[in-house]
Subunit: 239 residues, 2 copies
């Protein structure tokens, strides 16, 4: 079941231009999920009752039970949807790039997409991040399956970039991938709409990750001197 | 109370070379905290009972109650200790640097320290990260006070680095700080002792954050062209 899901993601193609109008029961289901994501995110797993979710969705409890008969099924679906949408959007955005887009442009696209989707569907992201350690272990395990499929896409892009010499050869790409994921996921927690726009956040993160904080060309080697191809030495301020 | 704590941190100085031997009751207290950090991290807030913690510490429940009479007090102390130790170690390590250490070396020190302390006291870090959204709101608020004091140290170092031109002027330093914190904190969750050493992880993160993933000098501007002082153009592979 969980494996079938991650396969779905890998095969996902952009939606056709003309869609069937959604059925009424699909709309209700979506309304329940949106309400549940918000309530879970506000009250935590053990603090949420199905009746709270029904009330938030403006439904009778019976109508909610028709779609989801337990908290487990709801949170499972919410966490799964968050990862699946982010993954599907990443695949679409990469496919929409010009065929000669550089590997760095492709990495930039992955970073932007993850941040923008995370903030856009913030109740889903926030519920996933806050509740991952509160839900039963079998739900957590199932989420990891979808997350690994999405992680494989990142790994592939990082490896392609390294293979053609676009990124440094001296860093562990698993570390890089997990560190970027941490930076991106945490943003859902601290981001405030009153501050910088999501696009500006994404630009700053892309710039830091791809090109570094240090002011070029006053590039300074780390303690291990692990910097590949340093630019010509120039005088730099010392303090 | 919470404010007094964050002031304590700011004034903290390295311990004197000769210390009083710890009292027996301090040792017991420490044993309880270590056991509690582990149990909270494994079972979550609502899944943990004081009797589980007493059993793990090899104590009678009465002895535990003598030191901590509620789960709230225990988790509050555990979260507080995690932040305080990391903050105090950062202050010490910065003070131990040569007076002419560059601003980038100081930022490197902050990153290394945060990662190493997080992994070293992993039960404390892990309990803090997993439980922050499970504990009562007043505990969460108190933790934020300590975290803000520690965040102020980071802000100060980043601003000093920018003031002397050691880091790029075009990035929002709050974004930078929160993104680095996310990358570091998340590592407590995914790190496996069977992989790279903590020192190697820290080196990779420092390299990525300060100098970027993109292979120098084939530096490539972002879509906004926001790269400061690019090195001389060279041919770079296009695919």
């Amino acid at each position: 079941m969980a494996n079938a899901r991650s396969d779905d993601i890998a095969r996902q193609t952009p939606a056709p231009a003309v869609e069937e109008p959604p059925r009424k029961s699909d709309l209700t289901r979506q309304r329940i999920l949106d309400a549940a994501a918000r309530v879970f995110s506000e009250r935590g797993y053990s603090g949420t009752r199905l009746t709270d979710i029904a009330a938030r969705a403006g439904l009778q409890a019976g109508s909610l039970y028709y779609h989801f008969d337990s908290r487990e099924k709801l949170i499972d679906e919410i966490m799964h949807l968050g990862t699946r949408r982010t993954h599907a959007a990443a695949v679409e955005r990469l496919a929409a790039l010009p065929p000669d887009a550089s590997p760095l442009r492709r990495l930039e696209t992955l970073i932007e997409n993850h941040l923008l989707l995370g903030l856009e569907q913030s109740d889903y992201s926030s519920a996933s991040i806050k509740l991952i350690w509160q839900v039963p272990a079998d739900i957590r395990e199932r989420q990891l399956v979808g997350q690994r499929a999405y992680g494989a896409l990142w790994r592939e892009e990082l490896e392609k970039a390294r293979a053609v010499g676009a990124i440094r050869p001296d860093l562990n790409l698993s570390t890089v991938r997990m560190m970027i994921a941490g930076a991106l996921n945490w943003a859902t927690d601290w981001y405030k709409p009153t501050g910088d726009s999501p696009t500006r956040l994404a630009r700053d993160l892309v710039e830091m990750v791809l090109h570094g904080l240090a002011r070029a060309p006053a590039r300074e080697a780390g303690p291990d001197g692990g910097v590949a191809d340093p630019p010509p030495a120039t005088s730099r301020p010392r303090r």
